[in-house]
Point group: C2
Chain length 391, copies 2
């Protein structure tokens, strides 16, 4: 049995010897486990010639295990954590990528869509929890004022209804969606195609800092990794798989954002598209999808987006006890409610100190308490919900 | 056997005793013929009580046959003709309304969608021929500059490709579509909800005169008839049935134009919808249709409209003889070709005089000659196609 550290190191090293999503690597990990799979590959034992060549080429550039160890050390110093399958905060939804089969596959990136081997995460929220109730809002970098307006409104509206807004951190639609969510005081996750310590694009540096403060920056590549062009397309499968649905706001013809939407369709996730003026080049991709993909759903605003993602059966009704909802709570959650001030707000750190629990646990339980409508999240902390105002 | 005059008078009278589209009246005409059906109804013999009441109420207002005779006399003085089934220029496509069945029928106008009993026509083109290769371009009166632009472009483009542009003569999208067709020197047909001698709306009076000069004004109601509110909705079924397809450009929620599109869908005609900004109230109806009607097809411009209407099997390939296309011509068409000047253009009247044929015959044959690419229509008349330029 390998230790968690060994598994993590092996998965990080595997991500380095072949780009994330490589199906042959993922299959080996499934069969042998990450540590044995890495050993086999580094010994030149890959069953496919192409993969053997790739590994050999990477090995000439450095020692995979040493590179991984260095990356982990660097991440630790930066406050970046690695998450791997089996961890509490691993988002199991991305495992659906096993079943992703795209039509008309011509490019490598459309074939190599295996689940991620690991995530690098910057920010306080547990990743799985942040993505649990999430919607992707994606689109063109060269967005028009129309698209920016729509993306901001959707980002705001989704966050305001306690949905996590997921996007790719790019200029244009992505940034507008993140900003809308931040303005609503909500949770937003940027899934990046480079290290979570890198501000790419530079112009969004302040935005990334704000996201890291209250939401999450997530990547399959280690700190320092460069935003190579193919990585944006590799990354897109995570946005499609990690969310409950994808909204495309504006896109040029055959753009990366339309590709994410096609992945969402192939994954049987609601794939929503906002139309625009037919005179706008930035809506050509949106209209193309609506014409070509019968599953693509035209949406004109927040209500219709909520209708689509709300349809999913997993959305359990909020449990509410007949008399005292606190009866439903486990010990930890109970301690947190006890530690909450009767009036006013409290920060997470102060609350953790008062309840005698780790910050991460407090964050997780607070999320559940919010679902139960026992606490409410404010800009500057959490407050108890006064029973008479409870829904 | 009734004479053509008797049949015409009976059909006109029937349109007066009950509004066009009334299914019970149409069924009686099918069973008994128009003359006997009229006799039965005026004798109080309608099988349905509601229809008996309607006829009785109308009969108190006047004598149906006298009213019809007066309308026919007035039409004659105004140069307006009546067309009835069996006439050469009767557009048989409207007979498809027999099979029209709408879902969720609550309103009278959605139930009473029988084929027209007669058409009043102003303009030179034979009605059936004008509608043969036609596309409806419809939409909101309160169109935005965006919608007006799109409708004008579509009207122009369709006319430029020798499609007749059909619309309802209203402000906004309708007028823009008609104007676009006129600008291209093409054929446009306004299907009105009042007499073809009335300019409603007044602001479109000059437009109606231009349409009557080169295209057609058509109505189910006699000259002088008022544009009563329900008549616009009754009229819409003719726009849907008389064309090869319908393009909705802009529409408010649940508007008359969306209703026409739903009729086109129910008639299995291509029903096309141009999307717009989701921020525009004038695109709400368009987006509603695209969301609710799986058969509604999003189109972004002329090419996609042509693709939809061009799919129809009826679109026979242009017949072309191996050596001399004139071999295919009948005597009348042959005389017309002989009468054409070798160079330059000739007006229809001058051509009719030279060929010794009635103007209407010349117009009909010219249309065929155009299809055969033997003559070409210009703003100021017709010209022979020089063989080497022939497609």
């Amino acid at each position: 049995m390998n230790t968690h550290e060994e598994l993590t190191l092996a998965r990080v090293a595997l991500t380095w010897v072949a780009e994330p999503g490589t199906r042959s690597v993922h299959r080996l990990v499934d069969e042998l486990g990450a540590v044995a799979a890495l050993d086999l590959l580094l010994d030149g034992g890959a069953p496919q010639e192409q993969l053997r060549d790739t590994v050999a080429a990477r090995s000439r550039a450095g020692d995979a295990r040493a590179v991984a160890a260095e990356a982990l050390g660097r991440a630790d110093r930066l406050g970046v954590r690695v998450v791997i399958p089996g961890d509490d905060e691993w988002p199991t939804t991305v495992e659906h990528l096993r079943t992703l089969h795209l039509r008309d596959v011509r490019r490598r990136v459309d074939r190599e869509t295996a689940p991620p081997l690991c995530f690098w995460v910057r920010g306080q929220w547990p990743l799985a929890e942040a993505l649990d109730r999430s919607v992707a809002v994606i689109g063109a970098r060269a967005a028009t004022p129309y698209g920016t307006h729509i993306a901001t409104e959707l980002g705001y509206g989704l966050a305001d209804r306690d949905w996590t807004v997921v996007s790719g951190g790019a200029f244009g639609i992505d940034a507008a969606a993140h900003r809308g969510a931040l303005t609503a005081g909500g949770l937003t996750v940027a899934v990046l195609a480079c290290g979570v310590d890198r501000s790419y694009p530079m112009g969004n540096a302040a935005l990334f800092d704000r996201i890291a403060d209250t939401g999450l920056l997530v990547s399959e590549w280690p700190p320092g990794a460069e935003p190579l062009r193919p990585r944006f397309l590799i990354r897109n499968r995570v946005i499609a798989a990690g969310t409950r649905g994808t909204v495309l706001v504006e896109a040029a013809a055959r753009s990366g954002a339309t590709q994410t939407t096609r992945r969402a369709i192939a994954l049987h996730r609601p794939a929503m598209v906002v139309p625009g003026p037919v005179t706008s080049a930035m809506s050509v991709g949106a209209h193309e999808l609506l014409r070509e993909e019968p599953k693509a759903r035209l949406v004109t605003g927040l209500a219709q987006v909520l209708e689509e993602v709300g349809r999913i059966g997993e959305l359990a009704p909020v449990p509410r006890g007949p008399d005292r909802p606190t009866d439903l709570l486990d010990d930890e959650a109970g301690s947190i409610v006890e530690a909450m001030p009767r009036r006013g707000r409290v920060g997470v750190d102060a609350l953790a100190a008062r309840a005698g629990l780790p910050v991460r646990t407090v964050l997780r339980k607070l999320s559940m308490l919010e679902e139960l409508a026992l606490v409410v999240r404010r800009d500057d902390g959490y407050a108890l919900v006064v029973p008479k105002n409870r829904p």
